[in-house]
Amino acid sequence: MSIESTHSHDNDAHPAAPGDHHDHKPTGFFNRWLFTTNHKDIGTLYLVFALIMFFIGGGMAMVIRAELFMPGLQLVEPDFFNQMTTMHALVMVFGAVMPAWVGFANWMIPLMIGAPDMALPRMNNWSFWILPFAFTMLLSTLFMDSGGPAAGWTLYPPLSLQGGQSFAFVVFAIHMMGISSIMGSINVIATILNMRAPGMTLLRMPLFVWTWLITAYLLIAVMPVLAGAVTMLLTDHFFGTSFFNAAGGGDPVMFQHIFWFFGHPEVYIMILPAFGVVSEIIPTFARKPLFGYAAMVFATASIAFLSFIVWAHHMFTVGMPLMGELFFMYATMLIAVPTGVKVFNWVSTMWKGSMTFETPMLFAIGFVVLFTIGGLSGLMLAIASVDLQYHDTYFVVAHFHYVLVPGAVFALMAGTYYWLPKWTGHMYSETWGKIHFWVSTISVNILFFPQHYLGLAGMPRRIPDYSTQFADFNMISSIGGFIFGASQLIFVGVIVHCVYKSRKAAQGLVWEGGKGLEWTLSSPPPYHSFNTPPLIDPTTISHPEEAH
């Protein structure tokens, strides 16, 4: 069925202007936040939740870096250290980065495609409100007699099966997160495919919308697989099955295959929306249309496709047949091609642009440069023969932190600065935003760059103590970590100031180079974003063709 046929609107339906809406915002705290079906309120809930998780996970990272500040065991018991590495990852992946992206999706997708709200607003509420419960359950395991999970976020058996009573709580918490993600993704897909304003054809959609469409597909495809994997762990632990027990004909390596079939797409789930945000920001501040819009879309789709057939690059050392090693090595390297397309397109967009460097742009450029470093170390890891050396060392830790912290997290920050005026109706402090950027960028490199050397020299990951030869780089890394952690307080300060204190009102068009529907609305936008479908023409789409 064609989208057009579902609307019986006439063409002079005017773009929604700020004044002409009856904003029936619900009153009262519970009505507003607990029972809400509004995409903006739910988006805000997701973002606030993610920020809180970011600090909880960050606190754990501080414990890790404090213990690793010097060789020897100083602060925490080894088992607690392992709980910290495990929980840090689980909280950051499932509690901070993923919900933050869903928050962005909630806020921005209806605004960007000209819809009044998400397609399934009640379910939208539920997908959020599962999360606080899931994470309460997950975090509560730290206070149980057996302690929290300590086998790493990858939950490899047999080690993970040696966890005590808390293990069941972890499994069920993961189930809840999965349910939440799946519902959120179904909502995103239905919204994008069904709620676009007439004329907003697929290839006119902003890239953020495209990347989220593909992300949502990945989520629906792999979260159930994770659910199945942890269910098998549960039954192996408590019900005597032997999926991962060789004595019964099972295989612990099978868990790794299943986990990484989920796990590799999962890393793209965290990074594709980041690609989208950066693709929105760079054209705005380079004042040039995005270079190669269609190529960006197809690159995203091919990355998503390839992400399903590379999982075993996480398992080069488990003793796969040679053909397996080769296949996964070459397939992995293939991903560098579409990823490279993206990086070159961002750079070409900036080429000869009239650039200004407001905070969102700084973070976006920081993303392009530093994410690329992570991509290159990924390529090194993709070479099966050398991964035998790098695997499970700090080189891997450096790799994925480069793609995740100055990668995904920087994109989250870039997006926050970019749209914060739109969300709140106030301008944030540009000075403090820039300070935040520079302190973060410098410290994140002090934090993670030395870890490459540590890894190449052979320091294993997930160990609370280390040989004295690694002392210097660890100390440097920890100092960077403390500065990075502290500098995120600036971020919170800027947000709080912007929301509650800033007197500088934001225009509808916050950034003069901004293109796309979200800028046609007031800041903040009306409660139901578009009550009537807006008119879509080349002036209101984000990535109009470049004039030749």
């Binding site: 079906t37 709200d117 399934l120 409100w129 069941a168 809840m176 897909i189 792999v222 999926f243 009537t532």
Partner: protein, 289 residues
């Protein structure tokens, strides 16, 4: 027809059901976690959580049904619901794919390697000398003792016929609905529900037989693990589907749906076909082959 005369879109107002659902879910799952850790009160709190969830489902769906029956939904809402259901079924497909994947991996790789094939020669030589790769197997250590399997062409085959027949009856019900033949609609639906419950009944009998006479349990190595995981989750889905069909049948008796608009019916029918197809996979790869 939109909610407000001047709106083109339908946007529902606040809802209390999700938060109730979350409370039910956390009560149920936290209880389940205590339960597997041998808590004696947990079964009761689990039940309480399940009841809260059921209350939520009735309340939430009841609201949606009332809105739908009073004509508040336009075509766009209908399409959103359809997409929602289809993608939900896709997620279920992937959930089962995970366990099928485990089955195939075990049969194609893990067990032969334990038997010394390919790269497994040393594992076999050093750890389990003399273990020969066969299927079904309880593994080199014969975990759970020796067992016999359920023959495919007994009850499982009958169950296959039952589910296939139920796919036909639900389609006949759909045709009756489209022709607005209420009597036939309700009868075919009830026949489908009945077939569903008979399937579940046979499945339970089969489990009893396995546990009591064949020595086949969840602990019977990888065969028992995959067998019970796959058939167990499938059985749960059939039960759920049959209950949903029953609800739809009751709604039909109350005069809900019309020949043009009956998404609720279709959604459940899709779901039913989905559990049907999963069963065919099970029958072939778990029982026959």
């Amino acid at each position: 027809m939109a909610h407000h005369a001047d709106d083109q879109y339908y946007v529902p107002h606040g809802t209390k059901w999700p938060i109730i659902g979350s409370l039910g879910m956390i009560t149920m799952l936290a209880s389940a976690a205590y339960w597997v850790n041998d808590s004696t009160v947990a079964p009761w709190t689990f039940l309480a959580g399940a009841l809260i969830l059921i209350y939520m489902v009735f309340g939430w769906f009841g609201e949606v049904i009332r809105e739908s029956e009073s004509g508040m939904y336009n075509d766009q809402v209908d399409t959103s619901f359809r997409m929602g259901m289809l993608w939900f079924i896709f997620s279920e497909v992937m959930f089962f794919a995970c366990f099928f994947g485990a089955l195939f991996y075990a049969r194609v790789f893990a067990v032969p390697w334990l038997g010394g094939e390919g790269t497994g020669a040393y594992t076999n030589e050093l750890l389990w000398r003399g273990y020969e790769s066969v299927w079904p197997t309880a593994g080199p250590d014969q975990l759970g003792g020796s067992f016999q399997t359920i023959p495919a062409f007994g009850v499982p085959f009958i169950n296959t016929l039952i589910l296939l027949a139920s796919g036909v009856t639900v389609t006949l019900a759909h045709h009756a609905l489209k022709k607005n033949n209420r009597g036939a609609l309700v009868s075919w639906l009830l026949a489908t529900v009945l077939l569903g419950f008979v399937f579940v009944f046979f499945q339970i009998e089969e489990y009893k037989e396995a546990y009591q006479h064949l020595g086949l349990t969840m602990g019977s190595g990888i065969y028992g693990s995959t067998f019970f995981m796959l058939t167990g989750f499938h059985g749960m889905h059939v039960s759920l589907g049959a209950i949903m069909l029953l609800v739809i049948a009751i709604r039909c008796m109350r005069g809900h749906f019309n020949p043009e608009h009956h998404f609720g019916f279709e959604a459940v029918a899709w779901y039913w076909h989905f559990v049907d197809v999963v069963w065919l996979g099970l029958f072939v790869f778990v029982y026959v082959y």
